[in-house]
């Protein structure tokens, strides 16, 4: 899977905000902000094919977290991203 074309992470006012960059209209009344670790994972997998294993490895490399917890967190995050339409197979 990969992050769909047209979504871009920008830091605006110290917030990590995902904007829909490909479309004509950027709607700032409905934006999704990511916390620091989610933004880190986004940057790691952006424009790449990835699996949940890639996310878990990246998270464990950067943060002091055990693999089970990291996998659970990554699965939750990935589900949220799929739900809002950021991810394509």
């Amino acid at each position: 899977m990969r992050i769909k074309n047209g979504f871009e992470l920008r830091t605006i006012c110290r917030e990590n905000i995902v904007i829909s960059h490909g479309v004509d209209n950027i709607n700032f009344t409905k934006v999704i902000s990511l916390n620091q670790s989610a933004a880190y994972l986004w940057r790691k997998i952006f424009k790449k094919e990835f699996t949940i294993d890639d996310m878990v490895i990246a998270l464990c490399d950067e943060y002091e977290v055990d693999e089970v917890t990291a996998r659970q967190d990554c699965a939750n995050l990935l589900n949220q991203w799929i739900e809002v339409g950021f991810i394509e197979e």
Binding site: C13, D24, N25, F28, T29
Partner: protein
């Protein structure tokens, strides 16, 4: 879901950047200075790049470094622009035409989209409202009292 409160001085330069890149950018209206048509925290405005600005346009202007207003153009004299919010009576702002960053092309009001270039209602409202400045204080007071149900403190004490 949570609401992000972004500082205008930091947020709006990013908005201007996207507008300059050719995007239309939708933001939530804040403040009461464009009443009665645009209501704070309810209505959304769509900003776009303008090739030229005209009297009557609602624009995003950087009137001082980092200080932005979304107001209507009242007058243009050469490079000098005078702005006035629809909800303001005596207050105007002055800036250079180069300080105008974007023009409002649409207003999303109570779920309905108003295209400012084509909407006859908007044009009619603009024509009438910009000619009611002497009566504006009274009209805005009636709007707050009758439409929004906001009773002034001094009336509450009676």
């Amino acid at each position: 879901m949570q609401t992000l409160n972004l500082n205008n001085a930091e947020f709006l330069p990013h908005v201007c950047e996207f507008v300059n890149e050719g995007h239309k950018v939708t933001i939530l209206a804040r403040g009461n200075s464009m009443r009665p048509f645009i209501e704070s925290d309810r209505d959304e405005v769509v900003l776009t790049r303008a090739t030229q600005y005209n009297v009557g346009d609602v624009v995003l202007a950087e009137i001082q470094p980092g200080h932005y207003v979304l107001h209507r153009i009242d007058r243009i004299q050469n490079e000098h622009v005078v702005l006035r919010g629809d909800g303001n009576v005596g207050n105007t702002e002055s800036c250079s035409i180069n300080d105008l960053r974007a023009v409002v092309c649409q207003i999303k009001r109570k779920g309905k989209v108003w295209d400012l270039q084509t909407s006859k209602v908007w044009k009619c409202y603009s024509y009438i409202w910009t000619r009611t400045i002497p009566l504006r204080r009274l009209l805005l007071a009636l709007y707050r009292l009758l439409w929004l149900g906001q009773i002034p403190d001094r009336m509450k004490r009676l």
